[in-house]
Structures are given as structure tokens and as C-alpha cells.
Subunit: 388 residues, 2 copies
């Protein structure tokens, strides 16, 4: 929904007012950690219509701090559309005239799906730190159970950026018969030591906050806001390129005179503090820990003798891999590692390097070349269904 529309008038390419729904999965889910969830809920939004043979479904996997609300608005007056609204809608790259799009809040999330801020039926208390740490494989399993519940045997495509792209890779490896196309955007085959270092500092900020209370902060009616704020501020540095920060905040770096105190002096400081504080209001610290650990643990080659090539030989999907030139969190070199392994594994892969400005966050931006590549790729996916 563009900001230029008057309130209450939705643009023609919006999916419109959407409502989330809760899908109850009344089956046990065995997790990589060895524990089993007897049942779980996933909150989803869907856009478009599932066709008769359920062959037009697209799974959208979210990144670290994302959720199910990817497109549309929650009410006609809602001015803030979903996090990927620029990409999902009628006539947009993920075209809801042709596809049935499923967007979920991952297991362990904090927006309604079973996670640390929901009740553990066995104890009657909020899960908190008792909620198991998860892997990307666990998510794929849970998403497969969601697909079953929705009557979707095979995804036309799974699509995700960053941690979302990692879920897509894992889908292609773990359930090769259930995914026809894998769109892996701004991702990496596994984290670098520097990536893990950033995550570790974010976790230490949360874990060492006295108001974290070992993860039971709910019961103390507090939140570990200092730690979670620091974690988010730190994340933001990795989402933006040095050049983007310079462009955005550079002119503010000319101080007429220092204030000689710790108040905000530079715009970048106020930006980070604002981003950090806003995040505390909407996100759960235990979920943040779960998400960063899932990132650190992601390594699809682990089960295949540390060979990504061998891992990817399991896949049957065709791949679209997209990287952004200004991304230093998961740089184009990391995407090329994926592409190279796919080629070695004799898989079908298209690769696009998008010239970009902002950094890792570019995967959320409506960059024309990016949307063009993704849109054309998915148009062919849609055509396949028609001709099949």
C-alpha cells in the first residue's frame, strides 16, 4: 500500500485487507534437539486462490525478525502494509492473480505461532526458556505439516530472503519431491565466523540483561529491553552497507560543535536508538535467541559429509539465486558458493547479482532489476502450471 493513497483506498495492486489465521497441527513434531512437540499452532496469512489441483502454491519463508504478515493491510485504515507488500500482490513479482501465497510465522516465533511467548500445555506456564532451540530443518518439517494441513502436496515455489532463503535451500534438500522451484535470496550456505560473532554478541546482550531472568521475564512483568535493544541496533549495522549509512547519515556527521555528553549528537545514533526501542515493543527476546541460534546452526552440508554439493544432489527443484552487490552480511560471494555447488551437483540454477545500494536490507526493497528477475522467473513457473 503506497503512502500516496488516501486512507481507506487500497491501491489496485494490493492484496487488500488480510486476516491471519491459526492452523492447529495436532500431530507430534520431533525436533533436531531430540525433544518432541506434541502439537503446535502456526499463524498464517494467505493471498490469492489455491487452484483445483493445488499446483499454484508459493511458500514465503521469513527472515530473523519477520512474521506471517507479508502483504496487504490489517484494516482499510491501516497505513502499514506487510513486510514484503512491494513484492506480493496482483501484478507484482509474486503475482497473486496466478499464485496462492502462504506466509507463516515460524515455529518459535512471537506473533502467534507456538513459541516461547505462548503457553506450554504441560506446565500451564509460558514456555519461555523451556521452548526448544530449533533448526532450519525443524522449520522445514513444521512447514511440511502446514502444507499437509492446507492440502498442498507440492509447492510451485518456496521463496525467502536471508534466513528465509536458508529455509528454502533446506526444503529443496530435505523434501525434494515437494518443491518445484527454490528462490534463495541474499542467503549463504552457512554462517561465517563474523556472522556468528555478531549473533553471539546479540545473544550475550540479551542473556546478560538482568531483566532477562533466565528467559522467565514474563513472570516478572519486565522485558530485557536493554539487551534486546542492543541486539537490534547491532543487527541494523549489518543490514546496511557502510556506503548506505554514509549517504543516509553522512551530512549529519558535520557537528557544529560537540555537546560533550552522551545525548544523541549524530543522526545515526538517533536512528539506531529508535530502531532498537521500536523492536523491543514488537519482538520477544527468547524468539530472538532462537532465531540467531537457528542461523548459527544452519549447515545443510552437515548431514552429507560436510559437502554442500552432495547435499544439493538431493534436490530436484530448480533454483533461482539472487544476491545484492552492497550486501556485506551475506555477500554475493556467499551466494556464488551456493551457485557453484549447485552447478557441481548438476542442478538447474539461475543466478542474478543485483546492483544495489542499501546492503542486506535490499532484499526487501523494490529494486526494479530485482523485481524484474524474480517476476519473470515466477511468470515462467506459473506458465509451467498452465501448460502442464
Amino acid at each position: 500500500m503506497s503512502d500516496s493513497s488516501p486512507p481507506g483506498v487500497l491501491p489496485a495492486d494490493s492484496v487488500g485487507v488480510v486476516e491471519a489465521r491459526r492452523i492447529a497441527i495436532e500431530q507430534p513434531l520431533k525436533l533436531d534437539c531430540g525433544r518432541t512437540l506434541p502439537r503446535f499452532d502456526l499463524v498464517v496469512e494467505t493471498y490469492g486462490r489455491l487452484n483445483a489441483d493445488a499446483s499454484n502454491a508459493i511458500l514465503v519463508c521469513h527472515a530473523l525478525s519477520g512474521d506471517h504478515h507479508a502483504a496487504g493491510v490489517n484494516s482499510a485504515d491501516d497505513r502499514k502494509p506487510g513486510w514484503w507488500d512491494n513484492c506480493i500482490g496482483p501484478g507484482k513479482p509474486i503475482d497473486t492473480r496466478r499464485f496462492f501465497v502462504v506466509s507463516l510465522n515460524n515455529l518459535g516465533g512471537c506473533r502467534g505461532s507456538t513459541g516461547p511467548n505462548t503457553f506450554n500445555p504441560e506446565t500451564g506456564r509460558l514456555w519461555g526458556p523451556d521452548f526448544p532451540l530449533l533448526t532450519v530443518r525443524d522449520w522445514v518439517r513444521s512447514q511440511a505439516m502446514l502444507a499437509d494441513a492446507l492440502g498442498i502436496r507440492v509447492w510451485a515455489a518456496a521463496i525467502g530472503g536471508s534466513l528465509g532463503g536458508m529455509q528454502v535451500m533446506q526444503w529443496a534438500i530435505d523434501l525434494p519431491d515437494r518443491i518445484r522451484h527454490a528462490c534463495v535470496i541474499a542467503a549463504a550456505p552457512k554462517l561465517s565466523a563474523q556472522n556468528i560473532a555478531f549473533n553471539e554478541i546479540a545473544r550475550q546482550a540479551i542473556l546478560s540483561d538482568p531483566e532477562f531472568h533466565g528467559g522467565r521475564f514474563y513472570e516478572h512483568n519486565v522485558v530485557p529491553s536493554r539487551g534486546l535493544k542492543l541486539a537490534r541496533m547491532l543487527g541494523h549495522i549489518t543490514y546496511l552497507s557502510d556506503a548506505a549509512m554514509r549517504r543516509r547519515f553522512g551530512s549529519e556527521l558535520k557537528l557544529a560543535a560537540p555537546s560533550f555528553n552522551f545525548d544523541v549528537e549524530f543522526e545515526v545514533e538517533s536512528y539506531l536508538r529508535h530502531q532498537g526501542s521500536a523492536f523491543v515493543d514488537r519482538f520477544d527476546a527468547n524468539t530472538y535467541l532462537i532465531m540467531t541460534k537457528a542461523l548459527d546452526y544452519f549447515d545443510p552440508s552437515r548431514d552429507y559429509g560436510d559437502s554442500l554439493v552432495t547435499a544439493l544432489r538431493q534436490a530436484r527443484a530448480r533454483f533461482l539465486v539472487i544476491a545484492f552487490s552492497s550486501d556485506w552480511r551475506f555477500s554475493p560471494a556467499r551466494s556464488r558458493e551456493i551457485v557453484k555447488s549447485l552447478v557441481e551437483a548438476d542442478r538447474d540454477v539461475s543466478y542474478a547479482l543485483i546492483e544495489s545500494q542499501l546492503g542486506h536490507d535490499d532484499f526487501l526493497m523494490p529494486i526494479p532489476a530485482y523485481h524484474d528477475v524474480l517476476g519473470r522467473y515466477l511468470a515462467r513457473v506459473a506458465d509451467e502450471q498452465v501448460s502442464a
Copy 2:
């Protein structure tokens, strides 16, 4: 002192056992913040001998967490030499057979010089947060008073890496008649928005630690260890290149199986936690705040219509600027900005880009090409004195 020497036997190229001394400056120092210190102490170490006309003195300026103990050992059994021992000594690049080297703990530091962890004579209490925030200009003024106290009218050279290099630049601009050569290593003409963002998060980690107590933690017999630890961990990410972290910790990234808890799993985590904890034992949180603010405030162009060229036209020194290829904190591009401005200002400058592996920390490493450039440059400086 190399680790291969038996205890008690100093290598021939060591400056040997050194003792710090406290220089009392019994004169007022007017600071950029508008306040005046009526007097102050600086703790220094010196290596080599001042010659008769005091023309062979080199000032070593330290970086964020450095101190006066740059070379030698504190006792014959001390296995841990000063922070730049590989560069300072007889026959080393900063050759103590030819130069008299002065290394100080900066004003505001925490290793004996007047700073937040020393007593404010006006109140009889530790300064803590009442200690003024400082600028690089303030340090240059204080170092000039130190030079006076030591009978040094003109430095043969001032040398520093990172924040130390910024002090050297400021010396050349503010007191052009008192410095013949300026060696600016791994520095930048001012901080980027990303640099400031990292500093801001480090500060917020300290300021938001409940045990910071508004900077009066001394009086509560605690230290803001969580915040200071996070700050240091974060700093470390910026001192190492992504590739260096990968080389050092990469092989550890292959987990046989996740532990599914928040214990250390990856070597990079234990490295960062150790670095953070060790720092808490040796460094003061208020000093850390002062140092990061001095970095943020550094902008020698501010007094010259935001023109670095105009600022550098004040300089009379000849410059050696050294950058490291793997440094992403203050990348070679930042050093080239300095060089370009020096050239435009018609100043004499030599520039060396050192191929390196580690990142910003390379300015502390005995990289042969680096020590060769610095050593040859300084040998010419020494020859000048002889022929003068």
C-alpha cells in the same frame, strides 16, 4: 620479547625492563568542552636516550585501549611485553639506538594518568562521570605540555595507529612547528556513520548496564562488566577482517551436532567472551566512553570550513601514511582521503598500502613490508638529525 626466550633472558632487540613514571603538569589545561583542568598527571615510559639538542624524540600515540606500556617488560620475569614491542627497540623500526621514544597514557585514560578513575582534588572523590569528555585536540595540547616538561621543543616524529594516527594528524595541524614528521597509520580523516554506529552501541551497552550507576560504579564497588564486555566484543569484530575470522575460526564452524543451549559452541564465541572478560579486568568503563567520544568528535576539518585540505595546509611536517588492505574499520580508502588532501594541500607525503590479512589489528603486527616501510622512513628521519 619473544616467547622463545627463557624467562629472565631478554632478547637483544628488547628495550629491556622499563619503569613507568608519572609526570605532573602543574599548569591549567583549557579543554574544548570549555572546562579547565587546574593540573594533571601523565604516566609515561621512555625508551632510548634524548640527545643533547633534544632533536631525536619520537612521540608514540596510543589507540582506543592502549596505554604507556608500549615496549619492554615490567620485570625480568615478565613474559608479556608492551603492546608495540615488535616495533620499538634497538634495531627495530622505531630504533631506540637512534631515537628517544616517549609513550604516554593519554589524559582520560585508566592506567595512571589523570582520568575518571583518579581523584578529583576539588571533591576528594574519584572523577567518574564528572571527568570531562575530551577531544583529540585536547590530547595534543596535553601532550605538548608533556613535551615541554621533558624539554622537547620539536618531535622528530609523532607516530600512531588508529586513534593514535588521528592524534598525529592533529599535532601536525595544531602545532606545526613542533613536529617534523607525522606517521599516520590505519587511521581516517574522521569517522564514518558505520564507525560511529559501532561506538554508539558500545556506549549504550555500558550506559545501560545497571551496574554503571551513572558512571559512579566505583562507589558501589561494582563495575559495569556486562556492558564493558559487550563493548569490547563488538570492538573485536571491527578489528578483524571477515577473512581473518574465517581462517582463524573457520575449521571450528563444522559442528558435529548442536548443543541446543547457549553455552559456547563455536570457537569464535569463546574467543570473544574471553576477550571481553579479560578487558573488564584491565579497563575502565568511563575511559572507554571518553575514548569512543574522542573518536566520534575527531574532525580536523571542522575548524577549517569543513575542508581537510585547508586544515592540512597548516601542517609543516612531512607525512607517512600507511594503510592495510584487510582493514575494514579504517579502510585504505580512508587513508587515501588523507593522502589526497595532503597532496591537494601541497604537503610532502609518502603512502604505503600494506597487503595484510588480519584487519585493523594489522597495525600492531610485525608484517615485514610494514616494518620495512616504517623503519626505512624513520632511518631517514634519524639521518636528517645527524646531517642537520
